[in-house]
Subunit: 285 residues, 4 copies
């Protein structure tokens, strides 16, 4: 028999996830998602009986389960004693489980976010969300505009591809020679990170994807007055927003785009990750 | 000497237009744009002395000049007597000038909107604005979604190209065999307009560009419940919105996207048209 | 009953056409295609009994039917008297039928090549064939190379789209403002035809699609020594090949690409045209 | 002073490399490239005095230096004793230097091919060469054809991107979930390698990039009769060509495309690698 899956808390992605799992014909229970209209809501004690427990992404917030779609609060410390060693706990950005739980309680907590296929899949809604934001913030068309994408990791790869496809002139900055070769192979203009100074005045739009302070006051001062700057890196991000404000630049941080732009697609990617984890552990799918 | 140009009224596009003309080193005067922060504002009588008068797009609204960025009103009837036969009047969507003005007064009113290069240029911000709206309205990524573009005129051409570039599966409906051949040549799936019925349930997103009622109640009933429908055709558009509301479909009209999405690019296209008109008339550029 | 179709002569496209028509379940007869291995070969007198006769593309060569795949010769003058007024003659690039045949004999000859859907469809194999040739002739990758496409008709549109998609920097020259606006809308760099002089030294590859002498000695002298030049315009083409040879430029004419590059796709496009003609004439399909 | 560079042997890429180095203003000497028309030819003893020696790619062939563009032969054993410990030897696919040379003679041999930026750069001419071959071998247009790319390494990534850009429907097979997610993110259809059986009959073209026998007799038998198969993997490749011949499939191995398709671009990539090696070793650039 397929194991019962309980989805406990989280945001709109977990609501969609519940629906997708249900549509797959699985035995689903949900708890802590009532404001999102998730199906199959059950009391907590019932949800905690499921073989597989899907926790939020990110799983914790201020020492409690991350529960934006309910008014209840569930402390981490209150959750552990109610779990069993034969349950599979799946959470996003879990970090290490305290040794006490792992060793004394024997609990198994796996991170579904820490899988390359989920991160790759998330790069798409992030890029699309960045494009939507850019369209909103600029007074130009992307077609014909000069864009700089800082960093050529997952998001940089997808975003530069999409911007070029929309007709923009796209430069990508990176440090490694191999990345710069890839940038060229993908039809964009490579730019060494250490050569950005002096070239920044060329761009109508700058998208940062590097999780380190790259756009500091000195570099920001080189950008054009009407330049729009989007920071897609996770907190604390890569843009000195105070300096940007002093300089009058239009700069905006845009974290967590997948859940906002395309919660359904983001949920589908979480589902895939969960299925792959179950499959790799020999669980009946 | 380059002729003085006065920009009288209009929306954000005319504000940007003033700035672009000024940046080109031209003698610019503006009137009726004060809420938009246009440069070179002058009293009306002074503006009316310019050799070239740029009127709004669309030029009229309710029998008066289209003046959304000022509290003043200027009746059509009050404007004509103050103009001279040696002036060049340029307006958008002007229609025919009453014979009295053309023949008795000898005024020359040309339509800068009625030029293929402007309409082609406008297809880009329209397509980009439609993409921004689609990203906002759907809970999916465009990448991997199934899109139908109805019509293969200017907007249909650019929009289908961009959607495909973003990774969507794109079908385009058209009536003419030649258009269907072009759809295929551009890498999209052709679909005969008269064969839409029966296929509409395939699409996550439907964009209409045809200025005629194509999505009536019968066809709307065939779309999927979670289908998002955008109508880009000019009023009265091509979607039965009442029927869509009854059926619970997410349908939205999106007129006038260029001025909203990318007023600067839209203004640049107006400027090009104006320069081409002046050039073709042998005016000093 | 579906009318019998006889395919008389032509090149590899007609061979493929016969197979496609046969695969559609039609009653097919072929004559004059034996070197191409066409199916359903019959004697001429039998083929001439069919309701629909498909003639070659181009239909004539030196006063006779265009018969490259047989050793027989069939004079125009010998063909007419053997045809009936109730037959439908379909040929490619037919030109006008002599009045005698049209009026005295009452024959009906239609041109399947003179249809926009066929010409649009043909732009694809032409563009792909041009890309294959360019890849063969240059010592560079197209990705990163600077290409100029002269003309923005059907072939210019498809070719510039494909070159850009392969990572080239693409400029397109055209005369009309509207075409230049479209070039920009499609993400390429517009260039006025009358402004080519002075800019030609920028390009690694030049593709001409304009059927008029555009690349004369003066302009050729401005191209780079290692520039590769392809002329895709129909004869006499748009490149002064003698001047190119004197200057040592690598220039090549490339006519008739669809039949060479992709005879099967070219045949499928001919089939579509023929079906559309039959449909428009109310013939049973 | 910039160190003198000698280019010893190799194919057309080394000829272009010599020209590119010379155009950069470097002190270049060449030997063993006379049939390719390389500049700066000198006698061997003189070339061997250079600070930096660029050897062929691949460096050896049958125990001698790889010298396709000269009639001379230079045995490995004859080369070593003539080299000095202060020289930098750069070769392609060098493998390990025998310990005797490394330890006793103190020679330094580095592999310029074993750098990610070169391999990334090489993926582009490989993909373009594969497209040229595919265009030559098929009777269809790539636009609209159904392509399968086996493997999503460097070549698979670039090739699938280009095929899609040309209007093909592209599926990519891979084993890893992360690769399959990337395939989808790039707008292609993912296909698990272990699910190929049963789906192979869908494709007009199959490109293998996996260096292992993936297309064996059993799978080949599932392909369509008119399917064209290209093997881009390095020897021994991934296609059972004997089985393909027995089945009448059009299958072709296509090794070494960069040097054939785009020797100039391939040489530019080698030059970059060499410069990066020199830079990382602190050599004056």
């Amino acid at each position: 028999m397929k194991p019962a899956i309980a989805v406990l808390g989280g945001d709109l992605r977990q609501v969609y996830l519940s629906r997708l799992l249900e549509a797959d014909g699985r035995h689903v229970m949900t708890w802590g998602l009532e404001k999102g209209g998730a199906p199959c809501a059950v009391p907590l004690h019932q949800a905690l009986e499921a073989r597989v427990l899907v926790l939020p992404l990110p799983v914790w917030r201020d020492g409690a389960l991350n529960l934006p779609l309910t008014d209840t609060r569930l402390e981490t410390e209150d959750l552990w004693p109610r779990l069993r060693t034969d349950q599979l706990l799946l959470g996003g950005m879990t970090g290490e489980l305290p040794p006490r739980l792992r060793e004394d309680f024997g609990l198994t907590l796996l991170d579904y976010y820490d899988r390359e296929e989920l991160q790759a899949a998330n790069a798409v809604p992030t890029a699309e969300g960045a494009i939507a934001l850019a369209l909103e913030l600029t007074d130009r068309t992307l077609c014909g505009s000069r864009c700089l994408v800082m960093g050529f990791g997952r998001i940089g790869k997808v975003l530069s591809d999409r911007l070029r496809a929309l007709g923009a002139e796209v430069a990508v900055s990176a440090r490694k020679y191999a990345d710069l070769a890839w940038v060229r192979a993908m039809g964009c203009a490579p730019c060494r990170t250490d050569a950005l100074s002096g070239a920044l005045g060329d761009y109508d739009l700058i998208f940062n994807t590097v999780p380190a302070l790259v756009l500091d006051q000195r570099l920001l001062a080189e950008t054009r007055e009407d330049c729009v700057i989007l920071d897609l890196a996770s907190a604390p991000g890569g843009v000195d927003f105070d300096a940007a404000a002093r300089l009058g630049r239009r700069a905006q941080a845009a974290p967590g785009l997948p859940g906002k732009t395309a919660p359904r697609s983001a949920a589908a990617a979480v589902r895939e990750s969960i299925y792959h984890i179950l499959e790799e552990r020999g669980e009946y799918m």
